[in-house]
Symmetry: C2
Subunit: 385 residues, 2 copies
């Protein structure tokens, strides 16, 4: 049983078509990994001078152009035509079938977009990031608005080129969650919104408020990074296959899954919950990527299968585990050790309870378990427009 | 006069050939910057797992292949043929002439090497780095020897493909110092070796030894990085266009000169001279790159002109400035502030004198002003073989 399962994660390199397909997608994956590295660097280390961001935009646009070329290679199309049906045969493995399915999707998407558009999206994306970073520091949405406008225009063009059956937004949803549509999401979100709103009203009406004052104070950023490191190690995140850094917005980069999967946090000096929950949330993403089979590395089958599956992992860790008292009974000592002056007289139960305070706020990634879903729904309703 | 000088650093974009040439070399420079970023990352942050290094090798090989393609573009050859002579005309600027000269050199070199060889060099280079890093930690040259052998074989092939008039090594010297040959270097190094050896013998015979015990102790690595940061700022290095990190061997990366020029140090916990002199040495390289004209950015004319010019800057800073008492009269307070327990009772003159101890050692980058040149000559004699 184990043998069969293991074999199913190996590619049939003895088949000449699979071998050639692998060679082509591996080169594309190499370029994609470098793109992910350029993004990671832009978020964590790129110098702040205007020129540095502008040049990075050019670099990423050029790389996206080359990546697009490798993904639209005509030979890739011929191989896929030959393998789409053939790969269903019993002699092929699940890995082969996954490779053909995912590469077919990638090829069909890429061939619908002209290279110039792909390069422009990369350039605008890098420019937007710099504009957003600055606007965020100065709390100045107006300076970012034109960049957002350009992104919306470009994404509408992408949707129109991809095509869709019912709603333009379907084409973009499908990019992140294959097969997902507005029709399905509307039906899925309706009860979630109702239940969440009702629950939120009941909590607000109850008059019970959780005291989370123990999470406020003055927390050194580097010490928060060190604490996140300890918590991630406790979760099973493998630092010999990863790294942690600070960025304006926390994220996980599976740049060479499962061997190189990195996370970031954004420490808030005044409020320690932000970095702790981000570390656990990103840790959930990262464990998923680090758990990818080694035999799939350097192919588009490595890493997570969709945004939905990814968030199921990160939010399971964040909410079901990271907000439970049971978890903190094991991990709280690390928090006390990192900030003894703050937490010496706070016990694990009080700390865990503080992490469960429910209160509407404007920032999704700092939202609680109840209002987080409402943040997602608001964003969905906005993007659907 | 200033106007003319400024204009000479601008490209004549109104000339259609210059404009097209620029477009082609800019794309190549974008890819080269990403290659430099991948190297920077491998040195400073890449996870230690075997798989991460192996995948990085593939990524860099694929990128080098694409970069090679962009450098051997036939259109580049046609444009250069049209411009080689034309650019001497008075209507063109120094920047135009530099662009044509440097691109011609790049094109001629690239077209002499097959893509497969370029990819193989990148793959072996990345593998060698990982092998070297591990061998270094375990002091185990034997495990690195086969990698060195492969590199030597590949570099001999490069030299043979480039061609040379007298000595195979000339072809490789020219890569780093255009026009340099073994004949010229032999003549240049002979008196340097004689003078250095004589001076070293006189110093040893004098019985005078400089007491550098104040440089030994237990110095926290992060504090050494912070001190290097302060010293670099004192030198005029601009952190809004740079970054500092730790790597196994110190280096400077002008990955997007002048906007993104980064340095590394390798702190030795027991001996503070290593990181201090590395910061000043790399700072010299970095100031040179950061001083490159903005109008030349994203072209091969940006950054330093040769290894010799580069070392003239780094070693001027390291030896003529960084080992002078005058320099430390201004900067020593930062050293005392970083490590008060070590330096409270040591004065600037004693500290500066300690940095001038002359003693033969095995490690070039930690060598003193007298024996450093001998290190270079020994290495040269070895590589010439």
């Amino acid at each position: 049983m184990l043998t069969q399962e293991t074999r199913s994660l190996e590619f049939s390199r003895s088949d000449a078509r699979i071998a050639e397909l692998l060679e082509l997608v591996q080169r594309a994956e190499d370029l994609k990994a470098l793109n992910d590295l350029a993004e990671w660097d832009q978020n964590t280390q790129l110098p702040q001078a205007d020129g540095a961001g502008e040049l990075r935009g050019h670099q990423m646009a050029t790389l996206q152009g080359v990546l697009h070329e490798s993904r639209t290679n005509l030979r890739l199309g011929s191989l896929l035509d030959a393998l789409d049906e053939a790969v269903k045969d019993a002699q092929f493995t699940d890995a082969d079938r996954g490779l053909v399915r995912v590469t077919r999707r990638m090829f069909d998407q890429a061939t619908k977009l002209p290279r110039k558009l792909v390069e422009e999206i990369a350039r605008v994306g890098a420019g937007s990031f710099e504009a957003w970073r600055r606007a965020r520091e100065r709390n100045d949405f107006a300076s970012f608005a034109p960049w957002l406008g350009r992104t919306v225009t470009l994404q509408r063009e992408v949707a129109d080129r991809f095509g869709y059956a019912e709603t333009r937004y379907d084409a973009l949803l499908d990019l992140y969650e294959p097969g997902m549509t507005v029709r399905k999401l509307d039906a899925l979100f309706r009860p979630v919104r109702e239940v969440s709103t009702t629950l939120l009203r009941r909590i607000e009406a109850s008059g019970n408020t959780v005291d989370d004052s123990c999470l406020e104070g003055d927390f050194d950023s580097e010490k928060q990074v060190a604490l996140s490191r300890t918590l991630l190690e406790g979760m099973g995140y493998d630092f010999s296959r990863g790294a942690i850094a600070i960025s304006p917005h926390p994220f996980t980069s599976g740049l060479s899954s499962p061997y190189d999967v990195r996370v970031t946090i954004h420490p808030d000096r005044r409020y320690i919950q932000a970095s702790i929950m981000a570390a656990i949330h990103e840790g959930g993403h990262a464990l998923y990527e680090q758990g990818s089979a080694e035999s799939l590395a350097r192919t588009p089958v490595a890493g997570g299968v969709s945004m939905g599956m990814h968030e199921s992992q990160s939010r399971l860790w964040e909410n079901a585990i990271g907000r439970s008292e049971a978890f903190w009974r094991g991990q709280y000592a690390a928090v006390q050790k990192a900030f003894p002056e703050h937490f010496a007289s706070v016990d694990a139960a009080t700390f865990a309870r503080a992490l469960n305070r429910v209160q509407p706020s404007l920032i999704r990634i700092e939202a609680d378990e109840v209002t987080y879903n409402l943040h997602i729904i608001v964003r969905y309703e906005l993007e659907k427009e």
